[in-house]
């Protein structure tokens, strides 16, 4: 499970998170919604360990362990996965090579044996097929020239292969048409299990029709201002953020 306690963070002296507290038990999906600039993407970066931000107070516990002192690759090896809102292009590295390198790097950090190439290919092909990712796409440089939908499907493929304990999806629905949204959501839903939790960051209720959350949280000004069940998302869709934000202020 992921537990965020009273998290404060800033970048270049500007406060971004102001005492954010959120708990997502294992097996559950929590959705974070909120207006632009409320700090949603920043939260995902800070939990994943991006060094541009300074955490000034608080804790982030992954399965009971405070991960804030760990470098990002060790957080990943302990089971944290961030699906990026804007997946990064890496020219010169084929998608296939990147996936294998990532899987084996995590295994190595955990003290496990590396995957045999043949085993890797088998696992990768099966997972790619389910997400309608072609072998040709896997031979191309990572994310280079991929459409928005292809990039998001590839994020889900990476999550599938890396089998995290906890996944953060940062606006995974942005830039997706309905068909791609379904493929991506199916991919995420297939990973839902009793042991695995998710934090889904989104602007729109639409994604939550496909990935049904257990809880919905509204974020504004760097903290959670309201929490509720799935109905809260419908309410937001109808009335917008303005009243909730005004009430919280």
């Amino acid at each position: 499970m992921l537990e965020i306690r009273n998290l404060h963070a800033e970048i270049d002296g500007k406060k971004i998170l102001n005492g954010l507290t959120l708990s997502v038990p294992a097996g559950e999906v929590a959705a974070i919604m909120g207006p632009n600039g409320s700090g949603k993407s920043t939260l995902s970066y800070i939990v994943a360990g991006r060094s541009d931000y300074t955490v000034t107070a608080g804790e982030v516990l992954l399965n009971g362990e405070d991960i804030l002192k760990l470098p990002p690759h060790e957080r990943a090896a302990r089971g944290l996965f961030l699906a990026f809102q804007y997946p990064v292009e890496i020219p010169g590295v084929t998608t296939h090579t990147f996936l294998r390198t990532a899987m084996n790097a995590q295994r190595k950090t955990r003290g496990e044996e590396e995957l045999k190439t043949a085993d890797f290919i088998k696992i990768m092909r099966a997972a790619a097929d389910k997400l309608s990712i072609s072998q040709e796409m896997l031979r191309r440089p990572l994310n280079v020239g991929f459409s928005g939908g292809e990039k998001k499907r590839l994020e889900v493929l990476q999550m599938t292969l890396l089998e995290p304990r906890f996944g953060i999806l940062d606006e995974t629905d942005s830039g997706l048409d309905i068909d791609a949204l379904r493929v991506v959501s199916d991919g995420v839903n297939a990973l839902r299990s009793k042991e695995r939790g998710f934090l889904v960051i989104t602007h729109y209720q639409r994604l939550l029709d496909y990935i049904k959350p257990d809880s919905v949280h509204v974020m504004s000004n760097g903290r959670i201002i309201k929490s509720g069940g799935p109905d809260l998302a419908l309410e937001l869709e109808k009335h917008g953020y303005r009243d909730i934000v005004a009430n919280a202020a």
Binding site: R50, P71, F84, I90, V93, P141, L162
Partner: protein, 440 residues
């Protein structure tokens, strides 16, 4: 009255000039009138100009006068034993079925002869066969270059090679430097590639890491019409060495020339390429990767001259500069008035891995024709933070993430090597270099 500054000669310059008469006299038994004339021309230019230095624009970033403190004597003590010892060393690269021309301390000493390949050793004949003499007497635009002049004055070995249309597909010019004390070498190799011949030429330089030897190689390549040459150059010169090399290229119509150069060696290296495209519709691709660390200084300077219409040239160079090393890239594309429809694009990109690392980029276009498509671009930066974080977030530790991105950066230039086996060997060399990196 105009004052003309008379530069003070450095001790190295004085030593070089003083050693010439006796050296030339000892070597006079080979090369005939052509080599003798070249020596006199070369030393005259050297006496007038001294070592190339920052006052000469094309040497601005590589000031040999200040960098070359001591001139080592030209190597003369050739022996069969030395040749055997050099030949026994590990091959820098595996080339199946290649004809090998071995040059030990500048002297052509051995070959694996092959049909379609004629090789004249410059040093065996008291006078040269007419073909070789003509090749040596060719007038070139770069004769005034400081390194070229020195090579011509002190040529201590070399060969003239003729590649016929049916020649072997792979030819290895294998330069090795061995010895126990510093010396200098000045090999001169002329390669004529016949019409329609197709060949892969690999030029490699390797030498002892223990001695501060100095090499100054001149390789001149003439491609006849429709010849197709892939050329791979490997600089793995010794860690203390100074490695100067000049590649002169003369390219006829419909010929294709693709070059890839991997530079990792020498304390100070400069690879000069002077390309002259004389016939229509030739196709030229020059690419390279330079990896420099420590206090290495690595310079690639090229001049591509388009003299005829409808030719295409691409220049694509990538540098990874670490610690307190310095990279230099100077590229000039010259398009003559008659060379309409020239299509030229030059790019040089650098990743600097430390605050002390430096890169000097000087792209130039000189265009005298009005209907051409020419451009250049140069970038210089550090590793991309977004790419790094993305890789970390997937579980790659910093050293591995950086190596992956750097390999990819070099890899995009390596893609230009068509021969897969060769490309993978070059990639392994890049990875080996990256694996030695010390990450702060």
């Amino acid at each position: 009255m105009a004052l003309r500054a008379q530069p003070v000669k450095t001790p190295a310059e004085e030593a070089i000039a003083a050693s010439f008469p006796a050296f030339a006299a000892r070597q006079a038994r080979w090369g005939g009138a052509e080599v003798a004339k070249a020596r006199e021309d070369g030393i005259a230019r050297f006496r007038a100009n001294g070592l190339p230095n920052r006052r000469i624009e094309e040497w601005h970033y590589t000031d040999l006068r200040s960098m070359l403190r001591e001139a080592a004597a030209p190597f003369e003590a050739f022996s069969d034993d030395l040749a055997r010892k050099a030949a026994a060393g590990a091959a820098p690269i595996a080339l199946e079925g290649a004809a090998r021309l071995l040059f030990v301390n500048g002297r052509y000493v051995a070959d694996k002869p092959a049909a379609g390949l004629e090789v004249v050793d410059l040093t065996t004949a008291p006078s040269l066969p007419p073909v070789a003499a003509q090749a040596l007497a060719r007038d070139t635009a770069y004769a005034g270059n400081g390194a070229v002049a020195l090579n011509r004055a002190f040529t201590n070995g070399g060969a003239i090679v003729h590649i016929a249309a049916g020649a072997p597909h792979v030819i290895h010019l294998d330069f090795r430097e061995i010895g126990s004390e510093a010396f200098s070498t000045f090999p001169h190799v002329i390669v004529d590639v016949a019409e329609q011949a197709q060949v892969l030429i690999v030029e490699s330089h390797r030498g002892s890491d223990d001695i501060a030897y100095q090499t100054n190689a001149l390789i001149e390549l003439k491609l006849a019409a429709q010849a197709r040459v892939s050329y791979v150059r490997l600089n793995e010169a010794g860690a203390k060495s100074i490695s100067l090399a000049t590649l002169g290229l003369d390219i006829a119509d419909h010929a294709t020339f693709n070059l890839f150069s991997l530079n990792t060696g020498a304390a100070l290296s400069r690879h000069q390429i002077f390309l002259h495209s004389d016939g229509e519709q030739s196709s030229i691709d020059l690419a390279g990767v330079t990896l420099a660390r420590g206090k290495q200084h690595a310079d690639t300077t090229l001049v591509v001259e388009h003299k005829a219409p409808r030719c295409k040239s691409r220049e694509f160079y990538r540098y990874i500069v670490d610690e307190s090393a310095t990279g230099v890239f100077q590229g000039k594309i010259v398009v003559a008035p008659d060379a309409q429809k020239t299509d030229g694009a030059m790019k040089s990109q650098t990743i600097l891995l430390s605050d002390e690392a430096a890169m000097n980029n000087k792209p130039e276009l000189e265009i005298f024709a009005d209907d051409v498509l020419c451009g250049h671009g140069a970038t210089c930066g550090s590793l991309d933070d977004d790419q790094l974080f993305y890789a970390y977030s997937r579980g790659l530790p910093p050293a591995q993430a950086q190596a992956l991105l750097l390999e990819a950066f070099a890899g995009e230039a390596l893609e230009r090597v068509a021969d897969e086996g060769l490309r993978e060997q070059l990639r392994d060399k890049v990875c080996a270099w990256l694996a030695q990196r010390v990450i702060q």
